[in-house]
């Protein structure tokens, strides 16, 4: 079919075959590429309950974040030694990419947040089911209820902490881009000295924010730990 279409369009048989192969490749690349706004699917086939899966993701995030924090610190250090605005801007862009990476991990349409919502819903359903449970002795039932209540509390606390982190990352990203825009405006006016001054102030702000984020992320506890 594709051969006949391209054959009619004036491609030779070889050209048509190449085009068909190319279109097949395009189809696989396009269809295999996930839409960013769509929540990623998680499998329950691995046997993990939503709360455990959420705890694992939160744990992974808190473990990976310090590496990215170090990248921010390294870039900030190198900006301090620069007097070339263009190079400093490149470093700021690099920091923006790192902050963006961190923010991307905790956005509301990201895997961690989606799992958090699923985990909370699962814990609430378990609690409701246990309230109606008649198979167990009252003290046994109470034990299970208490455990699930605690798990729900921890899950909600982790979600709140991640929400604070998300807001801080977004705030830092906003500061970086606004300062960068201001530096651009200064450079359009050929005010390089003022631009350098703004860059120096910015590195101070980045350091403060980075420290704050470090302690914030260090305080996030995955549920059930």
């Amino acid at each position: 079919m594709i051969n006949s279409i391209f054959g009619q369009a004036g491609f030779g048989p070889v050209g048509a075959q190449q085009m068909a192969a190319l279109l097949t490749l395009v189809f696989f690349v396009v269809s295999g590429y996930p839409a960013l706004a769509e929540p990623e699917q998680t499998t329950e086939a691995d046997g993990l309950s939503p709360v455990e899966e959420y705890a694992r993701q939160v744990d992974q995030f808190t473990k990976n974040a310090p590496d990215l924090g170090k990248k921010i610190e390294d870039s900030t250090k190198s900006i301090d030694g620069l007097t070339d605005v263009a190079k400093a801007r490149e470093e700021i862009e690099r920091i923006r990419a790192v902050i963006g990476d961190l923010l991307g991990q905790v956005t509301d349409n990201g895997v961690v947040a989606q799992l958090g919502a699923k985990a909370r819903s699962h814990a609430r359903q378990k609690l409701q089911a246990l309230e109606r449970e008649t198979r167990f002795k009252p003290e046994e039932r109470q034990l299970l209820i208490d455990q699930w209540r605690e798990l729900l509390r921890q899950t909600e606390a982790a979600a709140d902490d991640l929400e604070t982190a998300r807001s801080e990352f977004a705030g830092l990203l906003r500061t970086l881009q606004t300062r960068e825009d201001f530096i651009d405006e200064l450079m359009q006016l050929r005010r390089a000295a003022e631009a350098i001054k703004v860059i120096r102030q910015l590195t101070g702000e980045i350091r403060d924010a980075s420290q704050k984020l470090k302690s914030l992320i260090g305080g996030i506890k995955p549920p059930g730990v």
């Binding site: 369009a9 004036g10 491609f11 050209g15 085009m19 190319l22 279109l23 490749l25 395009v26 690349v29 396009v30 590429y33 839409a35 960013l36 706004a37 769509e38 862009e93 923006r96 990419a97 902050i99 963006g100 923010l103 991307g104 956005t107 509301d108 349409n109 990201g110 919502a117 979600a159 929400e163 998300r166 807001s167 977004a170 990203l173 906003r174 881009q177």
Partner: protein
């Protein structure tokens, strides 16, 4: 002629592959005011319905480009509140006043558009 068609097709394929492989993303921060309004209409980013924000703010990762913030104007009809331009590793902040009917977008940075076309927020 044949060479022209072939190069045009090639260019299309390259552009399509480029778009598909692009991993460039930016962020959209949507703040609803007041933060807790039970009767607030649902918001949509293009056709994706947004979960009601827990504390009045949602931050979403979006592919670079222009996206439409819409609200449910009743009867399943979506009304465009504003266009949001998403840039790589930048955050575009939009405040939505949900008490207004229809809800209104307030951009932190906006571009002046035709009075008839929706407001455009940029990051």
């Amino acid at each position: 002629m044949r060479a022209c068609v072939a190069s045009l097709a090639g260019a299309c394929v390259v552009a399509l592959l480029g778009a598909a492989c692009s991993n460039d993303a930016g962020y959209v921060e949507i703040r609803t005011v007041p933060a807790s309004t039970g009767s607030a209409p649902s918001l949509y980013l293009d056709s994706v319905k947004l979960e009601a924000p827990r504390k009045g703010t949602v931050v979403l990762r979006q592919q670079v480009g222009t996206t439409k913030l819409q609200s449910d104007s009743g009867g399943g009809q979506l009304a465009v509140l504003c266009d949001i331009v998403v840039k790589k590793n930048r955050v575009t902040t939009v405040t939505v006043s949900v008490l207004d009917r229809p809800p209104r977008c307030q951009c932190q940075t906006s571009v002046t558009a035709d009075a008839r076309s929706p407001r455009t927020c940029i990051g």
